[in-house]
Symmetry: C2
Subunit: 424 residues, 2 copies
């Protein structure tokens, strides 16, 4: 029995009860959301998870941090350091996107150390299998792909990204309407090139029922990847992207019907004025399934600052329906992030999520801000540091001020606006 | 004759022509905006300005960087360093908010070194005059205030912030509806306390015609300050704030009628879902006068990251009518910024402004992004660095990657999504 099965039976499974406690909502609220597919709890059976979360409409916005090795940097200790940085900074989920080193060993190490939901991308493993056995990516087989899905689920990850919506029809649209930046999803590109080279339909689409069967085994949540997400403002909302989105909506309904939880993945690079539309379109096309967006990045011109670009788009997205924000680090578009980038990316994305929670009226969200503002009014520095989203950083920054030890704020001295004895 | 006088006479003054060239719009477009008060060119007569700008509806969003000494740190060389950092990073305007050291000398030094519009806040000077002559802030006179306005305008600043809308009636609302964070505008607090202590109406409100007369002398733009802006999410949109806003709208009409250009200043700390409303309300209350916002900050809990918080709110604001974004630096709420904070604040705010320009359909705005995305697709690192909003920072970040010198992006190696020979 999966969580959806139980929810539909009106059963409050222990995973639902524990998650509801952490989310500060009633178990019944989660049960209803699970039953109708508007919420998920990405928590595989058998995985000890000290910080589970639920994702979906009516809940606070959750954030994910991507970590993982590359062919250039396959060191596992570096990944465990990034994992710790992400978790300590407050990520609700982590994805292992490793493509270098011993993928399975890395995944298991991360899983054992991970107190939050863990996601992974089996397609990289399928590519790796081909390369590892002396073949090229184009010589992957449909069997490799399904085998990789099976392997990841068996290893006990809580959710997997599978690019089931990259169909020959969608790829045909790419040919007709050339993009500025092509396909930027690694899994999506791998798959699309394989399909074109072999003139075959996407096995993960054709054999979607098998994917469902595999996920049912551990109640692994299916995160339907957006292999054709736009990687440039110019490409946002093109026909290929929306073709894939509607396919994902149909696949989501099939998986949910069979008791498998589904998240829909989304863009990517999107101009600010198109974000609300994109969010509402996903809700329409995918019957309000939880929406998991990467960004969106509202400009292409700021490498080094893409965590900030992403926080702008992420807030707007989450106010218009996105439920799960994948972070972007300051290293995006430049290099792999290190632990410090991971930390900064998580904080930036948490700020976006919190700003959206306030705007969305999530009960209690603004209490935090009100406490901070009261501490500011009374110039209680210790309290301000405690309440800061990054106490350590705030404290260190303040310590640079010449009058940091005084009650007076270093900014204004006698001109302090807050020092009044009046009613303001 | 002021720019408004000339514009109403259908005359294309040299200041209009030069600014139009820089703005890449027709002089006639600016002339019409100046004539009807929806645009300003903050450029005082007699000020040599190599990088003037226009601010208003239909134009790209402009950004301002605040610099200035404090009683703790009155060193002028530090301010000139910050000025250079702001200008080099692309600020369109700078405000000198000095409250420590020899204010007039500092102002003149900054003015002489400043290639962009320079603004200042005479109220600090008025407070300083009182203190300097052995009186308290509460013993300031109406004469001090008018004298300070005269002094700043005579010193040739391009725009002045004057808190003319802090009326006894507005202050009364503060008493009735207590705020979490009181009055956070330094000028506003100084003035309001003076009014309460002396039981007198705001001289800058009562003697507004004199303020207009003074501004006419050099065609100094009047930036009507929001002395009662909210300093906490909890205080956003309260009756005192909106009372002041409507007063500013009435004063704006009076100044514009007499040929003085007007900018309206706005919040502050505002929940994301209230930003659009606040922007539209300003347009309604102030007859579409250019709106200059500080932030808005969409959460109170992120000291150390408030440049990012401000970029989120600034984008949303600028898409809904804000024309001029005052930056916030990572030092906000903690200490005075140094040159590096200034730089980071300007970049963050430029990102917000650019994201809004794209969303607002400003002609040519997205070309920059499209060029970057094309460079990304062809993995042309040199071109990407050149196009980056902060080339130096992007280059330094990239240099940390293990394979930074190779054509392959360090992130994916063989898994690169962009390396295809296909049509995507």
């Amino acid at each position: 029995m999966t969580l959806i099965d139980l929810a539909r039976n009106n059963e409050l499974a222990p995973r639902i009860v524990k998650t509801a406690e952490i989310e500060n909502v009633s178990p019944e609220f989660l049960r209803a959301g699970l039953a109708n597919g508007t919420m998920v709890i990405p928590w595989a059976q058998g995985h000890e998870l000290s910080r589970p979360c639920a994702v979906g409409d009516g809940l606070s916005v959750k954030i994910n941090a991507n970590i993982g090795t590359s062919p250039d940097a396959g060191d596992i200790s570096g990944e465990l350091e990034k994992l710790k940085a992400a978790v300590d900074a407050g990520a609700h989920a982590v994805m292992d996107l490793s493509t270098g080193g011993n993928l399975r060993e890395i995944r298991k190490s991360i899983r054992d150390a991970c107190p939050v939901s863990l996601g992974s991308v089996p397609m990289y493993e399928a590519g790796y299998m081909a390369i590892d056995s002396g073949r090229t990516f184009r010589q992957m087989t449909a069997g490799d792909m399904l085998k990789a899905v099976r392997l990841h689920v068996a290893d006990g990850v809580d959710f997997i990204t599978v690019h089931c919506g990259v169909t020959l029809r969608a790829v045909e649209y790419l040919k007709k309407n050339r993009r500025v930046c092509g396909v930027v999803s690694r899994g999506g590109a791998l798959l699309a090139r394989w399909m074109v080279a072999n003139n075959q339909e996407n096995p993960l689409f054709e054999r979607f029922d098998e994917v469902i069967d595999i996920c049912r085994e551990t109640d692994c949540t299916l995160s339907l990847g957006d292999g054709l997400r736009p990687g440039a403002l110019a490409d946002a909302g093109d026909r290929a992207q929306i073709e894939e989105l509607y396919t994902l909506g149909e696949l989501a309904a099939r998986a949910q019907k069979r008791g498998v939880q589904v998240i829909i993945e989304g863009p990517g690079h999107v101009p600010f004025d198109q974000i609300a539309m994109q969010m509402k379109l996903e809700k329409r096309a995918c019957n309000n399934a939880p929406f998991y967006v990467l960004g969106p990045l509202v400009t292409d011109i700021a490498p080094g600052y893409d965590h900030l670009v992403c926080a702008i788009g992420g807030t707007m997205a989450a106010v218009n329906g996105a439920n799960f924000l994948c972070y972007v680090t300051p290293a995006e578009h430049l290099r792999l992030p290190d632990a410090s980038d991971v930390r900064e990316g998580v904080i930036a994305t948490r700020i976006a999520a919190h700003a959206a929670d306030i705007a969305n009226g999530i009960p209690g969200a603004r209490d935090w801000d009100d406490k901070m503002s009261a501490a500011r009014k009374s110039r209680d520095w210790e309290k301000m540091f405690e309440l800061a989203i990054d106490p350590e950083f705030a404290r260190a920054s303040r310590a640079k001020a010449p009058s940091a030890k005084e009650d007076a704020c270093s900014m204004c001295g006698d001109f302090c606006a807050l020092k009044g004895e009046d009613y303001f």
